[in-house]
């Protein structure tokens, strides 16, 4: 329960709230500051991971290239994957959720503000350890770190495992915090059926985090024991397949950790810019829960070619196909949401619409991969690389951008420039598809992943892909310029520039340190666009009113 917090202390290293940039480098218990810290950290690692990708694609632009080969190349693709997943996507989504969820539910802060700050700094520590592992060298077995190789390489792999172990706890504490916050700190009148869908997605995400991440922690701990103490859990004399089971038990649900908040963002953005209520609110909310639970029962589809018990493959194929259904429900609900709507093509909306299209492509290649015979043919090929980038970049990253363009005004008080935003969008869209569309073909034709060169017949497709990667790299520039310019000179946003109905938009931009001056009382759901509620159709209808003062309840 939120007690009264003192405003930012000057000079101390534990503060609450920010009155200067220095407060962002302290152990700050304000969820808005923590959210900003996570988002900034995430973007820094996005750039680092992105540079690694550029290096990889530069090497792969011509067959027989000698720019980056051997061990360094292995490290690059391993750290690229690890950084993008654990230090970009998960932190940036955690950051957006940290900032937005308490505001959406009408709370003063998260349930455990100090734990929240600890989570952030653990993530930072993990990030530093991860960079150290790259410098030391030896983390060469991909982000999935299969033994025996991962137990035979240099010390960087030990640092890698340690870094992930630390990051895992950051994540677990964060998930715990979100669940308790959403269960217990909702404003009066905000029943679960009036909860905004982004917050619903965080319930589902947090359940996955709590259920899955500890198993990764266990696996990493045992890998560390193998490497440092000399046990034989996963070594050649032990059971290397055990690693794969424990690793994928987390890492498959992890992809749902990475997409569900993205789904939540899309569910917030579409109704606002189509000016229509969300279609199928309950279906979207419940399908998130279904994905969370079912997502734990598909993991061995990453192991179809591992030598696993053949009898177990078919059940996992079935579950992997069934899990597409709840996501399909969402896609149809979103399409029905914008159908007949009055669409405003803001940058945020462009990213959201593109998300739907690109994610469907990625989802379809996923269904192909769920089929055992197809998977046997394309496992560990560029078909998988294409699939994962369509869902993670075409999906999650575009959702992140949709969310950032949407909530930047709330977070900073200023509007982002729409012109620069659209340039960013289109260059991203073109670059992304140029990079990853050819990779489907490469995989089907037999090009394996995680290789630093290839036979000449794959040259053209690889060249196109590398050009696309270069274009994607350029796309970052208008985005960065937009942020820097808008922070200083962007148009003042006011409380509700998009005329949205969720609670965060009832506060000034940026919100005051203690969020709501009076506890709001929620009287309806947040998607009532276009409903006849008063004689002033242009105004968003109130979904909350201040609590009655004086007198009992």
């Amino acid at each position: 329960m939120a007690e009264g917090y003192a405003p930012a202390a000057r000079g101390g290293w534990v503060v609450h709230g920010a009155t200067s940039w220095r407060d962002y480098f302290k152990f700050n218990t304000d969820h808005k500051v923590i959210g900003t810290q996570y988002i900034t950290m995430g973007f820094i690692f996005f750039l680092i991971g992105g540079l690694m990708a550029e290096a990889i694609r530069a090497q792969l632009s011509r067959p027989g290239n000698t720019l980056i080969t051997g061990n360094l190349y292995n490290e690059l693709f391993s750290l690229h994957g690890t950084i993008m997943i654990f230090l970009w996507v998960i932190p940036v989504l955690t950051g957006v959720a940290n900032f937005i969820v308490p505001l959406q539910i009408g709370a003063q802060d998260m349930a455990f503000p100090k734990l929240n700050a600890l989570s952030l700094w653990l993530a930072v520590l993990g990030g530093l350890l991860m960079l150290a592992s790259f410098v030391v060298g030896g983390a060469e077995s991909g982000w999935s770190a299969y033994p025996p190789l991962s137990e035979q390489t240099g010390n960087g792999q030990t640092l890698w495992a340690l870094a992930l172990f630390v990051i895992g706890f950051s994540s677990i504490f964060g998930g715990l915090n979100f669940l308790v916050t959403i269960m217990n700190l909702r404003a009066p009148g905000m029943t679960l059926m009036r909860l905004p869908l982004f917050s619903w997605s965080m319930i589902a995400t947090s359940i996955i985090i709590l259920g899955g991440t500890p198993v990764l922690a266990a696996a990493l701990a045992l890998m560390l024991w193998d490497r440092v103490v000399g046990t034989h859990f996963f070594s050649a004399t032990g059971d290397p397949l055990m690693w794969q089971n424990l690793f994928w038990f987390y890492s498959h649900p992890a992809v749902y950790i990475m997409i569900l908040p993205g789904f939540g963002i899309i569910s917030e953005v579409l109704p606002v810019f189509a000016r229509k209520p969300i279609f199928g609110y309950k279906m979207i909310a419940f399908s998130s829960m279904a994905i969370a639970i079912f997502g734990f029962l598909v993991w061995a589809h990453h192991m179809f070619t591992s030598g696993m018990n053949p009898l177990l493959r078919i059940p996992f194929m079935l579950t992997s196909m069934i899990i597409a259904v709840p996501t399909g429900v969402k896609i149809f609900s979103w399409l029905a949401t914008i159908w007949g709507g009055r669409i405003r093509f803001t940058t945020s909306m462009l990213f959201a619409l593109s998300f739907i299209a690109m994610f469907v492509i990625g989802g379809l290649s996923g269904i192909f991969l769920a089929s055992i015979p197809i998977d046997i043919d394309v496992q560990d090929s560029y078909f998988v690389v294409a699939h994962l980038h369509y869902v993670l970049f075409g999906g999650t990253v575009q959702a992140v951008f949709a969310g950032l363009y949407f909530w930047f005004p709330k977070i900073t008080g200023r509007m982002l420039n729409e012109r620069l935003g659209k340039i960013h969008f289109w260059i991203t869209f073109i670059g992304f598809n140029l990079t990853f569309l050819p990779q489907h073909w490469l995989g089907l034709e037999g090009m394996p992943r995680r290789v630093f060169t290839y036979p000449p017949e794959f040259a053209t497709a690889n060249l196109i892909s590398s050009i696309g990667a270069f274009v994607l790299g350029i796309a970052v520039l208008p985005f960065l310029a937009n942020i820097l310019i808008s922070l200083r000179a962007g148009k003042l946003a006011g409380a509700n520039p998009w005329r949205s109905l969720t609670l965060e938009w009832t506060l000034p931009s940026p919100p005051p340190i203690h969020n709501f001056p009076q506890l709001p009382v929620v009287i309806s759901d947040p998607y009532g666009y276009g409903r006849k509620q008063s004689a002033q159709p242009a105004q968003p209808q109130p979904t909350s009113r201040p609590a009655p003062t004086g007198g009992g309840q």
């Binding site: 259920g211 397949l241 089971n245 038990f249 734990f296």
Partner: protein
């Protein structure tokens, strides 16, 4: 902050009785484990399950507290069993 639930003191379990049961069962387990011959596993596993449930329901108040706590604590076991099942079969 006061808990608006009925006072736990009214429905406090007999902790000493639970303790005695736990101690006796532990002794029994050790004796059974050292006896040769018959299959000990079902007996020992059941004993430890009962002991665990005694601590969970009486010491940790799962019997009398909100059903949410039972849901939260017992849900993960399905997944633990799934892992054990897959690992055993491999």
């Amino acid at each position: 902050m006061e808990e608006p639930t009925p006072s736990v003191a009214h429905r406090r379990p007999n902790y000493l009785l639970v303790f005695v049961a736990l101690a006796l069962m532990t002794g029994l387990e050790v004796i059974i484990a050292t006896l040769p011959g018959f299959p000990k596993a079902p007996f020992l596993l059941t004993m430890s399950l009962i002991k665990a449930l005694l601590v969970l329901f009486y010491f940790m108040h799962l019997e009398t507290d909100s059903r949410w706590y039972r849901l939260i604590f017992f849900s993960p076991f399905i997944f633990v069993i799934a892992i054990l099942f897959v690992v055993r079969l491999q």
